[in-house]
Symmetry: D2
Subunit: 380 residues, 4 copies
C-alpha cells in the first residue's frame, strides 16, 4: 500500500478514534503491514534505512491522514531513528562499542519485525526536563529494578516496550539512563488521557515497578540519556513538527472540500482566509523540510539546531492558526462532532503546547538572533 492510500484509510477512521479516544489499532495494523515500523531501521537489519528527511516526509503524509496516529508513530520512530543514527564517535565515547552495537541492533531488528516502541519520559510536575527525572533504578542480581510513574506515554498499553528514562538511585549526581522495558508484569497503564485534541494517542500514565534483565539497559551503558538528548534534539523537539504540517494540510484539504460542498468557495472572505492559510502552510512545510534536510546532512550543528526550533515553532503555530481561520470560513456547520474540521481544530491546537512550546522556541531563537547562546539555559 502506498503512503497516499494509507493516509486516506487513516483519514477515514480518524473521527471514530477521536470520538472513542481508543488507540488506533487498524491504523497500526496497516503501518505494520506496510513495513513502516522498520522505517528507521538500517537496511542491513531488515529495515527501510530512512534518513530524518525521509522520515519527515512520511510523518507529514501520515499526519495529514490522522494526526494522533502519526504522533504515536513519531514516538516509535524517535526511538528507532535515534538509535539508528547515533554517531559512531558518540558510541565510542560511551566505551564498549561492540556490546552497545549488539544491544542497539537487537532493538532495531525487533522493530523491523513489527515491534512497537513507546516513550516514557515525562513525569508529572517536571514535564520533559530529563535532568529532573524522579523515576529511579537500582541494580538487582539479574538486572535492574525500575520504580516510578510517567505521564503522556503515547501508545501506552499497545507498545511492545517502553523507552524509560530513569535515575540511578545510588548516584549523587544526575546519572540518567535509558531502559527499554517490555510491557507486561510491573508495567501498569493507568487511564489518564482524555484531552482536547490528539485524543487517539492514548497518552496514558505508566506506573513502573518492574524487574528487567541486563539487556533492558539501552546499549548496555548507563548515563547516556542527557548526552543523547543534547546531540539529537531533533527527536525530542522537531520530529512531530512534520505531523503538525500534515495536520495543517488536512485543514486545507477538508476546508476546500467543505467550502465547495456548501457553495461558499467564491465568497471573498472565504478566499482571503484560504489564500493566506495556503501560503502559511506552504511556508511551514518548507521550514520543516529544510530542518529535516539539515538534520540529515549536518546533524547537531548550531545552525541545524536553530532550524529544528524554527521547525517546531512554525509547525505548531501554523497548524493552530490555520485551523482557527479555516473553521471560521467554514461556518457553524463544520462545528458538528465528526466533521473533520471540528477534530482538526482541536488536534491542531496541541502542537504549540507540546514541548518545547512555541513560546520557549521563540525565546531560544530570539537569543540566537541576538548572538546570545541559548545553551546557557539548561534545556533538559
Amino acid at each position: 500500500m502506498d503512503l497516499e492510500s494509507l493516509a486516506d484509510r487513516m483519514s477515514s477512521r480518524a473521527s471514530k478514534y477521536d470520538v472513542s479516544g481508543d488507540f488506533p489499532e487498524e491504523d497500526f495494523d496497516d503501518l505494520r503491514a506496510a513495513g513502516l515500523l522498520g522505517l528507521m531501521v538500517p537496511r542491513r537489519l531488515g529495515g527501510g534505512g530512512a534518513s530524518f528527511a525521509e522520515y519527515t516526509d512520511v510523518a507529514m503524509r501520515l499526519g495529514s491522514g490522522a494526526g494522533a496516529t502519526a504522533l504515536i508513530f513519531n514516538m516509535h520512530a524517535s526511538v528507532t531513528g535515534a538509535l539508528a543514527h547515533i554517531p559512531e564517535e558518540l558510541v565510542r565515547q560511551f566505551g564498549a562499542p561492540e556490546s552497545f552495537a549488539a544491544s542497539r541492533d537487537r532493538v532495531l531488528q525487533a522493530a523491523a519485525g513489527g515491534a512497537l516502541y513507546a516513550v516514557a519520559m515525562s513525569e508529572r510536575g517536571i514535564g520533559s526536563r530529563l535532568s529532573k527525572v524522579r523515576t529511579s533504578y537500582e541494580r538487582t542480581d539479574s538486572g535492574f529494578r525500575i520504580t516510578g510513574a510517567k505521564t503522556f506515554v503515547s501508545g501506552a498499553g499497545h507498545a511492545d516496550a517502553y523507552l524509560v528514562a530513569a535515575r540511578d538511585s545510588t548516584s549523587e549526581g544526575p546519572r540518567i539512563s535509558y531502559f527499554l522495558v517490555p510491557s507486561g508484569s510491573g508495567v501498569e497503564v493507568r487511564p489518564a488521557w482524555d484531552a482536547l485534541g490528539m485524543r487517539a494517542t492514548a497518552s496514558h500514565d505508566l506506573h513502573l515497578h518492574a524487574e528487567v534483565g541486563e539487556d533492558a539497559l539501552l546499549g548496555g551503558i548507563e548515563g547516556t540519556a542527557l548526552l543523547l538528548a543534547q546531540v539529537m534534539p531533533q527527536w525530542l523537539v522537531a520530529s512531530y513538527a512534520a505531523v503538525y504540517v500534515g495536520v495543517a494540510k488536512a485543514v486545507l484539504r477538508h476546508g476546500a472540500e467543505h467550502l465547495n460542498e456548501r457553495g461558499l468557495q467564491r465568497l471573498p472572505m472565504v478566499r482571503a482566509r484560504m489564500g493566506r492559510a495556503d501560503t502559511q502552510v506552504a511556508a511551514a512545510e518548507l521550514v520543516v523540510r529544510n530542518a529535516a534536510r539539515l538534520v540529515t546532512e549536518d546533524p547537531g550543528s548550531p545552525e541545524t539546531n536553530r532550524w529544528v526550533w524554527r521547525a517546531k515553532l512554525a509547525a505548531g503555530d501554523t497548524a493552530a492558526e490555520v485551523a482557527f481561520s479555516v473553521l471560521e470560513a467554514a461556518g457553524a456547520s463544520a462545528m458538528r462532532r465528526g466533521h473533520p474540521l471540528e477534530r482538526l481544530y482541536r488536534d491542531a491546537r496541541c502542537g504549540a503546547l507540546q514541548p518545547a512550546t512555541s513560546d520557549v522556541c521563540a525565546d531560544w531563537l530570539g537569543a540566537c538572533a541576538m548572538g546570545d547562546d541559548p545553551d546557557e539555559v539548561a534545556r533538559w
Copy 2:
C-alpha cells in the same frame, strides 16, 4: 440567590453538562427559582421589568458561569424581551392593538410563572434568513397547521413552547408569521446537536406537524416576523454577545487560577498573554455594554444598530482569541477534558461563527464606515 452565587453553581456543573451534552436541568431549576425566567417581563405582569442593558448584565454573569446555559437563557430572553419591548407605535401599525396586547401579555405572564420558551427559526440550507423560511402554515377550522423542520433550536425538548417562524402557504409574497407552538403532540425533537462547543445548549432539530389554536399566532396578527426582525436586530444579533463576554471573562478567571496553581504566574510570556487578554476582554465588555445602553435608550437608530454589530463582532472575536492565547499560556495540562480552559476554548470559538458571523459584521461595519448603506444588503 444572587447572580454571583448562581453563576458559581452553574460553573461547577458546566463540565458535567459539556461532557454529556445534556440540557442543564439543574441550572434552569436555579434560574426558575431565582425568578429569572421573568426577567424581561414587565413588572405589572409579575416580572423583573428589565431593560436590554440590565439583560446584558445578567447574560454576561451567567455566561461567565456556563456559556451554554446562558445561550439557552438568551433565547428565552429574546422571546420575552422582544415581546415586552415592542414599540407601541409598531403594535398600532399592526392594527388591533388590544388583541395584540392581550396575546402578548398572556405569553409574558406565563414566563413570569416559570414557562421556558425556545426559538425555532433557522432551517437547514437557509440559516437564519427569515425571508427564506420554508416551514409553512395553513388555516384550519380551529387555528393553524404548521409543517416544517427547524435546526439549531437551543433548549429543544425542554422548552414549554417554541417561537416558530413560518410562511403562509397561501400567500404569494413572503408573509412570515410567528407562532408560539406548545411542546407536545406534533412537535418532535430529533437529536442533531453534538458540537465542538456550547454542547449543553441541546440545539437539536425540531420537526413540526402541529395543529395549534388561534391563540398560538403571536399577537394574533400574521406577517409580523420580518418587521420585528428589522426593528429589533439586537435580539437576533447582539443579545448573545454578552454571553461571549462572559465566556471570555471565565477564560481570564480560570486562566489566572490555573497559572497560579502551577506556579507559572511570573513567567514573562504568561504575563504578556494574560495582560493583553485582560485588556481585550475589558474593551469587549465596554463595547457590549455600550451597545446595550444604546438599545435601551435609543432602540433601532442607525447609530444603535452600528453598535449592535460592533458588539457582536467584538465579543465573538475576543472570546475566541483570548481562549486561544490563554490556553497556550496554561500549557498542555489544561488540555485535559474536564479542565475549564479546555471547555472554554471550545465554547469560545462558537461566538464568531454564530450569525451574523464576524466576517459579515465586519463587512457591514466597513460599509457604514465608508458612508455606504449596509441596509442595501437584505439582512433577513
Copy 3:
C-alpha cells in the same frame, strides 16, 4: 471657535508641520485664542476647570486633527492638570499647605493667561525612570542652580517654562524635586528631534545650567516628585492615550475619504479591513473614556490605575494596527508624502513605544490579572 473647527484647522496644517518638523505655531495661536491653555486651570483662577474626563475628550478631538500638536498640548495639560488636581490631603502631607497653594495658583493663573508649559523629565539612558534622574540641583543664595540634560522635551524652544525633575545633589537618598524653569538664560535647546512620526512635537534636548529663584521650586517643597508620580500615574501614562485614539479616528476618516475618492469602497477586502478597524477604534475609545471617568471619580485607586494601563495599551496598539491595515486597504497611492494616511501611519506607530510601552503595560496588567501586585516592580 468650537473644537470641531479647531481640529479641522489643525488637520489642514498637519502635513506642513510634519514635513518641516517645526513647532506648530499656528495651532498654538488657535489653542491660546480658544482659551485652551487654561483648560485644566480651576475656574476660580480664570480657567476651564476641566476634569480628567473632559481633558480626555478635548485631547481626543485635537489628536484627531493633528497628533503632534495634541501631544505638546498634553504635556502642558499634564503640568496644569496634575497641579490643579493634587489631592488636598497630599498637599497637607507635604507640610506648609498655604505656601504650596500660593505657588501652585501662580503657575496655574499664568497658564490661564496663555503661558505654555513643557515637561523636561526624560534623560538619555534612563528614559522616564524618575528615581534615576541625574540632573541635579543645589541651593544658592537666591534659590537654586540646576544642571543637567533632558531629552524628548516636547515643545522645547516654544514653552514659557519647563517642568524639570532634578535630584538634590547634597542628599544621599533619591530626593527628587520639581522646578518650573523659565525659558531663557541657562536653558539651551539643542535640536535632536527628527523622528519617524509625531515630527512636529519638536521634542528636542534641553541643556540646563540655570539659576532660578526660590519660587521656581514647585509648591515651594522639595522631594515631591516621586510621590506625585505614584498618586497620579494618569498624567504620566495615560493622558496621551486619548491623543492616539484621536489619531486612530483620523485614520478611519481619511481612509474612508481616500477609498471613496478612488472608488474602492465596495471591494470586499477594503470593507473587511475598514469594518474591523472601526470596531477596534470604537473599543479603544471606550477604554480610554472609561479610564478617564474613573480617574475623575476615583483617582488613584488600584482599579482606576488598572484602567489607566489598559487605556495606554489599547490606544497605542489600536492606533498602530489600524493605520497598518487601512494603509494596506488604501494602496500605494496613499504612500505619497503629504497624504494624510502616510503621515498617520508614522504618527500612529509612536504610541505603543512611548513609555509605558505596550509590552510594559501588558506585563503589569498580566500581573494584576493573576493577583500579583505590580507595585512590587519599582515603576519610576
Copy 4:
C-alpha cells in the same frame, strides 16, 4: 567586490539616499563596476548568464543592503532577464525569429556593457493593468511616435533607456507593444516620487512625446506585451519578493545590533519578538527561494505560478510585520530619522502594497486552494 561587501557599502549609504530621495548614484557605480548590470545577460553576450534562482539570491543580498537600490536593480533585471529567458518556442510563435534574436541580443549586449534599463509600464488610474494602457504609438516614416504618461518609473532620469508599454493607436483591439525608448529628447522626467518608503527609487513620472527608430520596437515585433506578461509573471509579480526578504533580513540584523547596544537583548519580550521574527523571515526566504527554483526549473507551469504568488504574499507581509514588531522591541530611540530601523520600517511597508498586493495574491491563492481557476480573472 563580492556581494557581501557591496551590500555593506550600500547599507552604509542607505540613510543618505533615503533622506534626500535621490537616485543612489554611488550604489549603481558599484553595481556597474561589479558587472551586475549584465547579471541576466547570457554568457555568449558577455553577461553573467544568471538563472532566476541566481537572480533571487543577488536581489536578496542587495535588498538586505539597500532596498530602494535593489528595487531599481530589479526593474533592470526584469527587462534583461525576461528578454534573456524568453522561451524559444514563443519567439518562433512571434514569427521572424532571426530579427527578434538580433534585436534582443543588441539590447542585452548593451546591458552587459553597463547600460541601465528602467520600466515604464504603470499609468495613473489603471495601475499596472497592461491591457488598459493608454500610452499610444503610431508609425512614422522612420519608426514610431510614442505619446503618453507613465508613473512609478523607478530609476527615472538615470536609466539609459525605458521599457515602455504602448497601444497601437490604429488598432481596434488591444494591441500592446514594448519599446525600448532611449532617454533624451521627447522623454521628460517629472518629479512625483516623495513617498513613505523606498524613497531612493526615484520612481518619478515619465512624459513621452518621443520619436524613435524602427529598432526601438522590442524584438522588432508588435503586440507581444500581453503574451510576455502571461508567460513570465515572475518578472511582474515576484521578482521584488526577494528584495523584501532582504529588507526583512536587514530588520533582524539592525534590530539585533541596536538591542545589543542598548543592553536590551535579555528582556523576555525582546527575545520573544526577535525569535518569532527570525522564524517568519526564515520561512519567507524559503518560500521565495522555492518559487525562484521552480521558475528556473519549470517556468510558467500552474504550480510554479502558484509559488510565485505565494512568494509575493509571504515576502511583502513578512517584511512589514517583522519591521512592525522589531521596531516595537527596539523602542523609541530607534524612531530617530537616520536610524536603520526607522528607514526599514517605512521601506518594509511598501512590499505588500506593490502590485499584486497581498490581498490580491491571497484572493488568487484562495481560489486555487479550492480548485477554482484564478485565470478566469483577467490579470493584466
